[in-house]
Amino acid sequence: MSSKGNGKPGLAWPDHDSGPVPPGEYQSREREEDRKTRRPLALWDRVKILILLLGVWFILVWYTMVQFQGIMPFVDALNQTARAQGWLLVLAGLEFVRQIHYFLSERSAAYYRFFTERLFGGWDRRLHRINDWNRFRIARALKWVLVLVVLDLVVAQIVGVSPALALFQLPVLAFQALPFAVQLIFYFFIIIFQFVGLFWFLSRGGVDVYFPDDVKTRFTDVWGQDNVLTKIKENMVFLEDPESIEERGGYVPGGVLLWGPPGTGKTLIAEAVAGETGRPFVFVDPGAFIQMFMGVGILKVKSLFRKLRKLAVRYGGVIVFFDEADALGSRGATAQQGPWGGHMTEGRGSTRPPATGSATSPTTPLLCCCSRVSTRPTKSGAAPNVIAS
């Protein structure tokens, strides 16, 4: 990998701070109003309405064949439907003409200008006086009306009544089909409930909650980590009163990372923070998010943060402790095999091996993220904020 971007040797990453640098031949996308011809349509956009009309026609052909089952060949059904449902051919013809018009507009600037400026220029300007959102709503309503009209004409043909009467028959037919629809929905939910139940069951556990009065640990219980404790006490201000920092234009970190060899008191410090602040303490097991089924881990993360939000609202904050947080930051093979084992790829955002070098052993350095779950958005981002090494 080249070191292009930051001018330093070795592995390097694009300099995202200064933004991507476009290549020399880069052409910015033309604005619609600067175009001399109409923007070319994709093939699907060209044919989709014709395909819709063709589909409607085939439904009517199918119905005709059913009506004269056994005596009418397919060609006669095509012919009979074409004659009886002339409106479909008229609509298809109009759509075809429209597409030819678009095709010419995409190729001839003069033709495009004639239509957009001279013929429909005034109309277009009037239309653009309508608020964008209202214009979108009108267009959406018109599309629905078109769908209803087509549906009405098809139902009218099948039921054998006039389109006006068929409009009133539509709710009746929908109501008649309701038992079948409910039956389908019932089967659908029976299957879904099994998965929901299974995933709900599997997503339990791994997260323990200690309420403020349960946590007896205080800073006075922590010995031999005075410098860490001083830092933690500084950070307590961030966690307790982030507004005062932000008012001064400061950046409030969402959490604290405790990093060190096993047995150095990281969990104790985290408990002490919870005890000192009088907030609930949520302990997350290292393997809480590693699951046999894909998706269960995500569900657990979601349910954990839902729980944290509830606690934060009720108690004005919450301390969450991710034991061995390094396992959380990694994905795939890394998550399965341990924090630094297997096939670590070096790259931006990847975690770096600790200096101790004992990462893959059972005595994995305990990484502790103490995070205050804010009950309101902060400048530094959405809550909760987590610091990781």
């Binding site: 009506q67 005596i71 060609v75 006669d76 012919n79 074409a82």
Partner: protein, 210 residues
């Protein structure tokens, strides 16, 4: 989309449109209320129920006509270049003509209705056979899966010096409440020369299950 489909799609659409322009040469008749369908050649002329009732004999009163209209559905057809309802089973009919009729039987009719009644519904076959004015060419009982049953007859009716051949299918539902009648005929020579078409028309007469 591959190049193959780019070329095949328009060709397919054109082929579809062209196939819609060609027909098998038949026109189709259906009655949603009686659940019956049949087909006749495209060049034949169809007479609607109104046409048929407008052609009613003078002895039928308007009240009787109203009662008939309420209890039956009828559709006539004529293969002549100058079609008219007078061609029906007439000695002058040199082109096939006929009609399909579905009639609800009255309570009194139901009690006494039989296979013999079906035979004699339009022509008094049995009586005419005894008088040697009708010559039966074929006779077969018909029984459909739906329980509809009846009789299919082909016979010659003497009209003066001429013979008119008639193909008659008379059926009734299992409860003997509805009568289904289909007749096609013309001069014996005409019948012989158009037998293929007539057979196809007769076999297309379908009573759909409700």
């Amino acid at each position: 989309m591959t190049n193959f489909w780019r070329m095949a799609a328009p060709a397919l659409a054109v082929a579809l449109l062209l196939s819609a322009c060609s027909t098998s040469g038949f026109q189709y008749v259906s009655s949603a209320e009686t659940n019956t369908v049949f087909k006749v050649p495209e060049r034949w002329t169809l007479f609607s129920e109104d046409d048929v009732f407008r052609f009613r004999p003078p002895e039928i009163s308007p009240q009787q006509e109203a009662a008939n209209r309420a209890s039956q559905w009828v559709m006539a057809f004529d293969g002549a270049a100058e079609p008219t309802l007078t061609h029906l089973f007439n000695a002058d009919s040199t082109d096939p003509a006929g009609y399909a009729k579905v009639r609800i039987l009255s309570e009194e009719e139901r009690a006494a209705y039989s296979l013999s009644s079906l035979r004699n519904e339009e022509f008094e076959i049995d009586k005419l056979v005894r008088r040697q004015q009708v010559e039966l060419l074929s006779e077969e009982e018909v029984s459909l899966d739906s329980g509809v049953n009846g009789v299919h007859l082909v016979f010659n009716v003497r009209q003066g010096a001429e013979f008119v051949t008639v193909n008659q299918t008379a059926l009734k539902d299992p409860q003997t409440r509805v009568l289904y009648l289909f007749l096609v005929g013309c001069q014996a020579d005409c019948y012989e020369s158009n037998q293929g078409t007539i057979d196809e028309v007769v076999s297309s007469w379908t009573i759909k299950e409700r």
